[in-house]
């Protein structure tokens, strides 16, 4: 037994065998009810990839059905806004699918017109050039759903000659450094790449301990395991909500090979970005 800080007494786990082991065994046996609840929960947390207009599930994984040479994933509202303003206005993009998932932190939106505040995960393909696929993911994919997401998107045997670029943001306090966060020039970009990524990164590599989290980490690990060329551009910022300065911190990436030919009109992009960031500016009453 152990006492916690708040005074509650909890059962401390014990690796040595105890007399109560047999009783515990009985308790651990699953009842039909438990099994039913577990199956229902698994069904609810399933990641489904659909064609949004027809609401039918894709039979194969997305990249098996739509092979491409460049796959760009934006995770988080700032990365999504960056792609929306700088890349998506440069051509005609058609939607090829969307991921629907549910977890305690997010329920992906069902509506066809998505506002920046809703959580969604949509895939687009350039109409003129089927070799580029974009993913805009503003929902949180939980740990138990990440592998499902990867399988449904990449498939069980992903193509090796595809370059994957991942864009995401983290709070600057996640950046491990001995300096105080006040002295860091946030927002700033750091990169992390797989062994097969041979190009030059647009910013310095993330220093040790180079730890990344959540879906970006899952995608990068998956690419490393399958010997694919992938790079993660991570923007450390002190404003996690949609913010003009944070989005503009991604700009150095536009000159990289992954974005070749995808960026046409930068002044117009800046205008689009300004509009996106001003639609949702209601003051929080907690902070002045």
């Amino acid at each position: 037994m152990a006492a916690t800080f708040f005074g509650e007494v909890v059962r401390a786990p014990c690796r040595a065998g105890t007399e109560e082991e047999e009783e515990e065994e009985e308790g651990r046996r699953e009842t039909p009810e438990d099994r039913e609840v577990r199956l229902q929960l698994a069904r609810k947390r399933e990641v489904r990839l659909l064609r949004r207009q027809t609401k039918t599930c894709l039979e194969f994984s997305l990249l098996e059905k739509h092979p491409c040479s460049r796959f760009i994933i934006a995770i988080g509202s700032n990365a999504v806004a960056f792609l929306s303003s700088f890349v998506m206005n440069s051509g005609v993009w058609e939607e090829i699918g969307c991921a629907k998932l549910w977890n305690e932190w997010c329920r992906t939106a069902d509506s066809t017109h998505l506002s920046p505040t809703e959580a969604f995960c949509v895939f687009y393909q350039l109409k003129a050039h089927h070799s580029v696929i974009l993913c805009q993911c503003s929902c949180y994919v939980a740990e138990d759903q990440q592998y499902q997401w990867l399988e449904k998107v990449f498939g069980s045997r992903p193509r090796k000659n595809m370059q994957v670029t991942i864009l995401t943001c983290r709070h600057v306090t996640d950046y491990k450094t001995s300096e105080s966060t006040c002295s860091l020039p946030s927002p700033f970009l750091k990169a992390l790449k797989t062994e097969n990524f041979r190009d030059q990164t647009c910013c310095s590599l993330l220093e040790q301990p180079n730890i990344v989290h959540d879906l970006p980490a899952a995608v990068l690990s998956y690419c490393q395991v399958w010997n694919m060329s992938a790079v993660l551009y991570l923007c450390y910022t002190d404003v996690m909500k949609l913010d003009l300065i944070t989005v503009e911190a991604f700009k150095p990436i536009l000159s990289s090979r992954s974005f070749k030919g995808l960026v046409k009109n930068i002044p117009q992009s800046t205008e689009i970005l300004k509009k996106l960031t001003t639609t949702n500016q209601i003051q929080s009453n907690i902070y002045t």
Binding site: T173, Q281, Q283, T288
Partner: protein, 256 residues
């Protein structure tokens, strides 16, 4: 690991951090951007005004407030607090009471430095008490003293305070501070109008929708506090944009 030493305010970590105080500084970064400039004959306070919910009364969201003003309104001390709104309200009330108490006791109005020191001491007390958390606010305090010299002070959640020539607090404060470091020159602040323009230009670096989301207040020597209305700010913004265009034309002429 930070997590073992950051749950109680009164515990130092082995490498000397008071994590709760540092986390309180993060709370300040969640507020709007505010900028303060000390000119030769003027002090300027500007702040980003974000839009309020439709049904909310905008007048209750005043950011720049007076801590003290004389009967003749000549020696006002104004301030802006950025961070947790409720904490700001509590500290402002205490500071106002202290201003009056000082006047009653010594028959002189507070100096800007005195009231800043009072606020900083109050904040420091809350970083050393058991069962209390630090105030999650930083303040910019400006005013003129009896000797006619303009002052600008900044305090932060740890209870430190310093005098500044120009400073910014809140969201993206670093960007604004870098802009000020580049553009704060003796010429820029010698002229009152130039000092006002510098404050607005600094805010426009980070305020996303232009002049209509800026609140500005100035005090000139021996004059009462003046709050700028939307039209006056728009006028300044138009002038700034004109100057920018002319500077760019001159640059392109030089290069050709």
């Amino acid at each position: 690991m930070a997590s073992r030493y950051d749950r109680a305010i009164t515990v130092f970590s082995p490498d000397g951090h008071l994590f709760q105080v540092e986390y309180a500084q993060e709370a300040v970064k969640k507020g709007s951007t505010a900028v303060g400039i000390r000119g030769t004959n003027i002090v300027v306070l500007g702040v980003e005004k974000k839009s309020v919910a439709k049904l909310q009364d905008e007048r209750t969201v005043r950011k720049i407030c007076a801590l003290d003003d004389h009967v003749c309104m000549a020696f006002a001390v104004i301030t802006i607090f950025i961070g947790l709104t409720a904490d700001a309200r509590v500290v402002i009330n205490r500071a106002r009471v202290e201003c009056q108490s000082h006047k009653l006791t010594v028959e002189d109005p507070v100096t800007v430095e005195y009231i800043t020191r009072f606020i900083a001491t109050l904040k420091q007390k809350y970083t050393q008490s058991n069962g209390r958390r630090p105030f999650g606010i930083s303040a910019l305090i400006v005013g003129f003293d009896d000797d006619g010299i303009p002052r600008l002070y900044q305090t932060d959640p740890s209870g430190t305070y310093h005098a500044w020539k120009a400073n910014a607090i809140g969201r993206s404060a670093k960007t604004v501070r870098e802009f000020l470091e580049k553009n704060y020159t003796e010429d820029a602040i010698a002229n009152d109008n130039e000092a006002i323009k510098l404050a607005i230009r600094a805010l426009l670096e980070v305020v996303q929708s232009g002049g209509k989301n800026i609140e500005l207040a100035i005090i000139r020597r021996n004059q009462p506090l003046k709050m700028f209305n939307a039209k006056e700010i728009e006028l300044q913004v138009t002038e700034i944009e004109k100057e920018k265009e002319e500077a760019e034309k001159r640059k392109s002429k030089k290069s050709t």
